[in-house]
Symmetry: C2
Subunit: 322 residues, 2 copies
């Protein structure tokens, strides 16, 4: 939850009046989004979201993120659409920050996804992957294997203060992944952060995908692995194979996973678990106690990592033989 | 900024469906309000605010607050109106908290009020005071003189860690106020917390008043004194007599201040400054460093208190002789 940057009355007024969106009638900070400041903007026509990009987002990446949303929306993927000002600019500046006004997307994120939500997500994820295939821009995933090593170097000295034995456990896993990681799977644009709070539903049907600020080009199946972790475990740490099956089957209705992708899924799921274990550990160690952000529990992802370490086949995720 | 209470999907759905307000299309936490959790609720018809009352609000006071909003709205004061569910209840429960759904009020709060905003506020304040005259319920101001003594007792041991010499300075002021405080001024319902973030404007015209959760029965001129402090000082600590004059003159267009009220204004302004100096000091000393709330600076109100200590007549606030 976060509003990091205050916007003065005059700046806001000048900013909004440069768009053809009607008269401003309301402006409220939203307690969502960990990376950026988000405001809900109402005009006499409709609501919008105003995002001010804070330091964790690199300004040079913004054309990729905003261009991707435009690309996807043009291909029928329900996602926020950047609004262009009277001069045709989607990326602007406000209060000394890069800023963008984007369309407001109806929908509610679910806190505890049910089977039908996992299925809806699986279908949407595959459609997103297909729609991204002809996106012309490219951005490296800086939270893939080399990034994990760098994060490990940052946290290793203090990791055991977070969870006893964590340093060794991460080091061992990282060595394993560095030995076996692959790079020959089908690639494309991945979202890389599809947690339930980034997916909207209306009457339990998928209604939209938001927050593309980790999107990048990488193996498509890595996105599937991130979703397995974020959607198919219960609050008590148990893996719900029924949810995983629903998600993967719905995905495959739209885009068939290759045999190599399927065979790699346990390894990718370990990598995806390690990625969030590392960033959560890093955030816990580096978040000022006064920060307005709730840090997330690294333990949750350590348990998920251990689960995937014991998995021997994609069949353990609920899929039958292909 | 705050969302303290998480609402589960099922609870929210059941809650909203008990109102005749259409189908839920969006639900977002708002980064506003220090006391309660606030959510912006969109339905296919219109937006609403859902407030969950947290521990600082006494449940037994809620009928007063909600009843007051209904009373004022019926008398043409622009303020949020509690929505009644199908059984006619305005006060409900959600996620184990008292909760109310209220209408969404268009408008923007100004961060740095201009003269015209101060005038708009002055007029609105007087109309609010007049509209409250026949409100049948009553609630004591627990942040008046006896409450300040209690707060002083709570903070005195640590006050000097906040500002050196603060304990003595508060003690001296409190003695002075206890000796000279009065109780024979015109009384009625006061808002008691009219800071710029609780007042909305549209195109620089007053459009509404929100956040009645400190409202109580007390001397009307005390509300005027709170506004003098909250609206008529500049960021550099200087008093802007032009803004004060604009506010007071606009107030008097609607409700003439009595000679006794005018004569008491410097004393009331001291009391109002002490009240916020005390609560800010208390909050600073009692807010967990992990809290998701930005504490406000007590120094600002110490400077305002010192300003009013040097004032000898209401004429120093910009009003001429009556």
């Amino acid at each position: 939850m976060a509003v990091y940057t205050d916007v003065s009355d005059e700046e806001l007024e000048a900013f909004i009046s440069s768009y053809d969106i009607g008269t401003l009638t309301s402006f409220k900070g939203i307690a969502e989004g960990v990376e950026n400041s988000n405001y809900l903007v109402h005009t006499d026509q409709r609501p919008y979201i105003l995002t001010l990009y804070e330091k964790r987002v690199r300004p040079e990446d913004l054309p990729y993120f905003l261009g991707l949303m435009e690309h996807l929306a043009a291909r029928g993927i329900s996602c926020p659409l950047p609004v262009r000002d009277r001069e045709g600019r989607a990326l602007r500046e406000l209060a000394g920050r890069p800023a963008a006004l984007i369309s407001f997307l109806d929908g509610l994120s679910v806190r505890r996804p049910a089977i039908e939500h996992c299925a809806g997500l699986g279908q949407a994820l595959a459609r997103f992957h297909l729609a991204g295939q002809d996106f012309p821009m490219s951005r490296e995933n800086d939270l893939s294997l080399p990034g994990w090593r760098a994060l490990y170097n940052d946290v290793s000295a203090s990791a055991d203060t977070v969870i006893p034995g964590l340093k060794c456990e991460i080091a061992r896993e990282l060595s394993h992944l560095e030995k076996h990681w692959l790079d020959d799977l089908p690639r494309g644009v991945i979202h890389a952060d599809i947690f339930p709070d980034n997916v909207f539903f209306l009457a339990d049907k998928f209604s939209g995908l938001i927050d593309f600020y980790f999107a990048c080009n990488d193996m498509l199946a890595f996105d599937v692995a991130v979703c397995l972790n974020a959607w198919c475990f219960e609050a008590d740490g148990s893996f719900n194979i029924t949810k995983a099956r629903a998600m993967l089957q719905a995905y495959e209705q739209e885009r068939k996973l290759t045999e190599t992708e399927l065979a790699s899924l346990p390894l990718l799921a370990r990598g995806a678990a390690l990625r969030f274990l590392l960033t959560r550990t890093y955030d816990l160690l580096n978040t000022d106690a006064n920060a307005l952000v709730k840090t997330k529990d690294p333990n949750e992802y350590l348990r998920k990592l251990r689960f995937h370490q014991r998995v021997t086949s994609y069949r353990d995720y609920g899929l039958g033989n292909h």
